[in-house]
């Protein structure tokens, strides 16, 4: 997925830096804003805005922190430029601090949706910016123009489905469907809104945990798993690689090694994935998760016998009842089916269903 510049900047920041290097000022400011740790970054924000040479991106991040701390005027003055990031920051302030939806639309060069709510093709000065679309959509939503907001929100989510404002956008889309009595779409949107809100809440919690416990890999593993759950292996790899770059102790964490191997596999980097997983296996040979990831590498290579042996080992392990390994039972059943062992495949699939799985065994059944 192609991200706009402004949105890419909002991607996971602070946890992708190696443990032995401090976060950059931009990372600090963005983390403070996103995780509501405002007081930790206000001094930096003031220094930044006092520096006439500060980059617009930095000024924008600093302004948002200061606005959230209550210094709205200082924030606005320090972020008065016409660059996209600065206008986005001012638009966000106009939306979240000043209840000024017209101001948001004006700053972002939106066509006149409040006056012409039925226009089919909304336009925007910075049409490549997911954040601009989303802010305009939110502004329209707050002004009560939910139907006019809808195309803006959809455009924004189309450009960046994981944007920080995505939970809000999905909630407004649900409200728009409810408002027009769309009983088919509303339940789907309700479910999507619920899932996206839950994902973002977990993402924030894991980031906070990682920040509070920099020497603990589990929150980073949790972050990576969240990204994998939404098919974003590159983003999943970031916090793991940052951890592994931390030192000898970090490099010997089998859980991080194994999961990073899976991220590499999903990115199509099979050789690197194999290497990572072998290293993890050498450290803890019986770990089921590592073996499962190795089986997936073998499956990608259509090496069914190897995949079968690894999957059988995984499913025989007592850890196989863990929900995280549920899919290993399905994969084993399908490998057996593909290898012609249909009776065995059915038995394995039955075990998979018994453990709570719901996917069918064969493509025909699908």
């Amino acid at each position: 997925m192609k991200l706009s510049l402004a949105c890419a900047a909002w991607a996971l920041v602070v946890l992708s830096h190696p443990l032995d290097s401090p976060p950059t000022p931009l990372q600090q400011l963005r983390t403070a804003y996103e995780l509501d740790l405002i007081p930790s970054a206000t001094a930096l924000a003031r220094t930044t805005l006092a520096d006439p040479k500060a980059e617009p991106e930095l000024r924008a991040a600093a302004a948002l922190v200061l606005a959230q701390s209550g210094a709205l005027d200082t924030a606005r003055r320090g972020c008065a430029g016409d660059t996209l990031v600065e206008r986005l920051a001012r638009a966000r302030m106009a939306l979240e601090q000043e209840d000024d939806p017209q101001g948001v639309l004006r700053l972002l060069g939106a066509s006149a949706p409040l006056r012409e709510p039925n226009q089919r093709e909304p336009t925007l000065r910075d049409a490549a910016s997911a954040e601009a679309w989303l802010l305009c959509g939110r502004a329209l939503g707050r002004a009560g123009a939910l139907q006019a907001a809808e195309p803006y929100l959809l455009r924004g989510l189309g450009l960046d489905r994981h944007h920080l404002d995505a939970p809000k956008a999905h909630a407004l889309l649900l409200s728009a469907a409810l408002e027009r009595g769309d009983t088919q779409l509303a339940p789907q949107r309700a479910e999507t809104a619920r899932q996206v809100a839950q994902w973002h809440a977990l993402w924030k919690a894991r980031r906070l945990q990682a920040l509070r416990r920099p020497d603990e890999p589990l929150p980073r593993i949790g972050l990576a798993e969240l990204w994998l759950a939404v098919q974003e292996p590159a983003r999943a790899l970031e916090p793991l690689e940052a951890w592994l770059a931390g030192g000898e102790r970090q490099r010997s964490d089998v859980r991080v090694l194994a999961l990073s191997g899976e991220c590499l596999r999903r990115l199509g980097q099979h050789a690197a994935a194999r290497e990572r997983l072998q290293l993890a296996r050498s450290m803890e040979p019986l770990r089921s998760e590592t073996r499962y990831f190795q089986a997936l590498v073998a499956l990608d290579a259509r090496d069914l016998p190897l995949a079968r042996s690894e999957l059988e080992a995984v499913c025989a392990d007592s850890a196989a009842v863990d929900g995280r390994l549920l899919r290993a039972h399905l994969d084993l059943a399908r490998v057996l089916w593909d290898m012609g062992a249909q009776e065995e495949a059915r038995a394995r699939h039955a075990r998979y269903r018994e453990l709570g799985g719901s996917e069918p065994l064969t493509p025909e059944q699908r």
């Binding site: 007081p39 209550g70 601090q97 000043e98 209840d99 809100a197 906070l208 589990l218 929150p219």
Partner: protein, 610 residues
Amino acid sequence: MATVTTAPRWFSSARLAALLLLGGAGLTGGCTPDVPAQAQSEPDLHDEARARGVDYINCSGSASKDYILEANGAGVALFDLGADGDLDIAFAQGLARTQDLLDPALGTDIVLYENDGRGYFRRLPGPGLRGWWTGLVSGDLDNDGDDDLVVGGFGSSVVLLQEQAGDQAAPESAVLVRATELTPPSTTQTAPPWTTSLAVLDANRDGMLDLYVTQYLDLDPRRLPQGSLGNAPLDVPCEWKGAAVYCGPLGLNAQTDRLLLGRGDGAFDDASERLQGLVPAFGLGAHALDADSDGDDDIFVANDSQPNFLWINDGTGQFVDGALALGVAYGAEGRAQAGMGVASGDVNRDGALDMVVTNFSDEPTEMYAGGARGFTRLTHRYALGRETRALLSWGCHLVDFDGDGWLELVSVNGHVYPQADLPDTGTRYGQPVTRWALGPQPKARLLPPRAKDSIFAPAVGGRGSAVGDLNQDGRPDLVVVRIDAPASVGMNTEGAEHARLSVRLLGPEQPSTAARRTPRDGSGATCIVVVKDAAGSEHALLAETRRAVGFQSSSTPWLHFGLGTSTRYESLIIRWPSGAVERLPGGTANRALTVREGSGILTSRTFQAP
């Protein structure tokens, strides 16, 4: 039975000495009084608590607010003790430390004040309760024609029935008899029940008042949470904006609200199964109202950090949660807010009840306009997002204090975390009570304090609050519980140029045999006052008789209308809970009318001089 109340045990001589050393200035800690200035000048709501004999000082745990119970503070009820026609005051009260809950001997009583009829008060002996008390609500629970009281608390909640010891109507002849303990029937929860707000309503229209009991969360005084919640290393630190604060509500177990059907004698039966789809939630505010204008009592519940409930009544006392479908479950952008208090009124004078819900800092006080298809959020169109985002608000009211015919929004504010006073949090621990005009312009307009002794002036955090005409001058007054500080009694001197009308709606003295009946105290009755303005055009002012308003508190049953410059009203239209509708002819303004269903106007008196 009533017992003599001694001085609060936490107000020891040592504390008094400490206060004197500090010069008595400012808020110095839990259970320590603040000293308000006394000076009356401009029209305002002047805090005359001391001068009028109200010396209640709230006690709500440690000043550092180590545990969540200490942050929520207490409620207040205005009710008529002694059936002498004026409003007396009951305050809930807490303890000096959460850990004191482990020693039953350390429990405290509620605090009562008797009104002399002119708005001056004398402290009365309390009813002899022992506990940590939170919310209060009043209503005629035993249908004997006087106000009773329900007291919610941490650990237990009780029904106090008022009985008259003599023939004379007077507070000193009244006793509050402990009638019923509202202990949950289920013993599945290990932590004590924690009741916050209580609402009286008539769920099934049998003419007997019922109770909605809002429950908060599990807090075990023997194992108080601190530092973080969950298991390391994936525990979640108890932090707010990076500062360590008390734990909860998120991460703690929510409790389940209850619906209790009254038997008409002060006893209740649990009927929570009538709340279809009821789930545990961090409930804080409860307010009965006819949300869908179908003539029955619905219930809005403001939940903390979880979706709100709007229990829609099918007319028989069976409820389903319509909050999501009617647009009041979540914030505008789908986030569950930290709801605290709730009030209703016809803000835009369109004949449908509108609603305000107070929330946490960084969340707006929400305003919803009632209509045929549910509620429309007007929060941001009224600029309430901008106006309220720095405030953490609790009690709220929609009242026409200045009598111009347009409702004002009052919110009682104060942060839960003393850490709000750390630099750059964007908010403060102590916050003033704030008020906005909501009409005729469709934008909230802040009404700043004008007098030095204005109830809106001091930035001392408040929690519960109640509205009522304490001195019977026709102008609604405001009582506010300030956390760990003296209560405020705001006497209204505004709107001398405006005319007013006060109306008290009462159900039949003898219960009828009809299928639908009006409760004797008129709970749920709606009054519409038709007024003609100077240009000759008519408008209608609508209000419902509701006691549970705001947060953990109970306001007057009188309905107060501002008539602006009109010197008379054109007619009264009353919709009784029984289904009957009465239209009464107009009359002169500046009167207090008592109307009984089927009997017309019982009494009509002019207002007292303030």
